[in-house]
Symmetry: C2
Subunit: 268 residues, 2 copies
């Protein structure tokens, strides 16, 4: 059986061995066993992760902001109910991590059928909150780092990409990082995210290849008090614990190709 | 209509408007009009290029070696019958470019139906040779740069990846560069290329995202007398003429993720 996720005029095909589980609540969640990529998590028809390449995504989303921070003790993750980002955050010397997920099913299905959290949900430093991340940040405490690990900005994730949300996150964090979609396949959406996050201090774009995401070139927004000068020092504490990320990949992720540099300058 | 190229347990789908042309000789060559990617060139069922992202590939394949060279006047391109690599080489101050293509049909079909060469085939500095590249290098003159722009190493391109070929090219060039497949989807093939090219002096791997290639993460081999110290100076002469490539992208292409660093060290 073939699973196909279609984008604009193209798509990714993944050969499926069988469907392991399905839940329909706020979102339709499916977990498959694939022929070559291990387990596959799909939400509302879109690939969220495969065991094969989830570390490409989670390591860049987490270690870029965490290692760019002078001292990250308190971390907020919005979304990320699969536990992959949480697992990566816990590799750092953190004292408290709050994960706010709107859809309880994502956590339950992931714990039961995926297991990529490696026990992160049970870590005593972790607090899980089932709530709309947009509402949560309005009244929450401040964090050293806020990480947004959301689905595409349609449906439940849409409010996680508006101007007010970015403004509140900037207030409540020293360093902020969010995935920001494909600049190739979702150009209009990417440009909207650029515009909406333009209010954030020291906002920069970085990119990474995520093989099973639309056309693989994925973008991220980072803002706040982040700096390259902490990266090597922080990396030494997690060295050997990453499969994809290292300081060279960190620095090079900010080196944008000509077309993307123009796109970013154009909108900003 | 959907065009699907299958790899190992996955694949890329491209929505086709119509087939523009087809030729069957040494290889089966097809050119399609796609919904989102402009024209698509397929050889033996595999995507060679789309108008949408061919510059990602051709600019990295060409400008990385050309800009790493002290002075590149004489250039040999093996393969590259579509004319994309030739177009990029001619942006530099070269005096002579020989393009050796085994399959005349690739050139004729590309000139007639693709046009990505931008007239490069008619440039007075260019000589086209229809011959097996493997045989050609045995008795050819020396070049400043040799670039191998081949199809997958099965069928006609297989000899372009063997140990003897790499050895001869090392002898006949100051700087050598070849595409070296996907380290993710074609891991065995990639490892074979690493082993076979291990004889080459100063051999390094660099990578780039090529959106329509298998899982988009593509690798290249460069060897010989190449150096980062020429890059910025050489780039100034072609500045404004590239869509993807710039010196930052050049340097960052050599920054390999942990898993790939290990893979390369493991085989070398």
């Amino acid at each position: 059986m073939d699973f196909i996720e279609r984008y604009n005029g193209c798509g990714l095909l993944i050969v499926i061995k069988k469907k392991i589980a399905e839940a329909i609540g706020i979102q339709k969640i499916e977990i498959f066993e694939t022929e070559s990529f291990g387990k596959l998590l799909v939400i509302d028809g879109k690939v969220q992760l495969t065991e094969f390449d989830e570390h490409f995504y989670h390591e860049m989303l987490v270690h870029v902001p965490m290692n760019s921070c002078k001292r990250a003790k308190k971390v907020l993750i919005i979304g990320g109910g699969d536990g992959g980002a949480l697992r990566e955050v816990l590799k750092h010397e953190v004292s408290r991590v709050v994960l706010v997920e709107i859809d309880r099913n994502v956590i339950e299905m992931s714990k039961k059928h995926l297991g990529i959290d490696n026990g992160a949900f049970e870590d005593p430093r972790v607090e899980i909150v089932i709530e709309d991340g947009r509402k949560f940040v309005e009244s929450c405490e401040s964090f050293d780092v806020i990480i947004v690990d959301s689905t595409d900005p349609v449906g439940v994730s849409d409010p996680l990409f508006d101007r007010d949300f970015f403004a509140v996150c900037a207030e409540k964090s020293k360093v902020f990082c969010s995935q920001s979609q494909s600049p190739l396949v979702q150009r209009d959406l990417f440009r909207k995210l650029l515009r909406n996050s333009a209010c954030m201090m020291n906002r920069r774009i970085f990119v990474s290849t995520i093989p099973t995401y639309p056309l693989s070139l994925w973008s991220f927004i980072i803002s706040g008090d982040h700096s390259f000068r902490y990266v090597k020092r922080n990396f030494r504490k997690i060295e050997g614990k990453t499969k994809h990320y290292n300081p060279e990949v960190h620095f090079s992720a900010f080196m944008l190709p000509e077309w993307l540099k123009k796109e970013v300058e154009d909108v900003c």
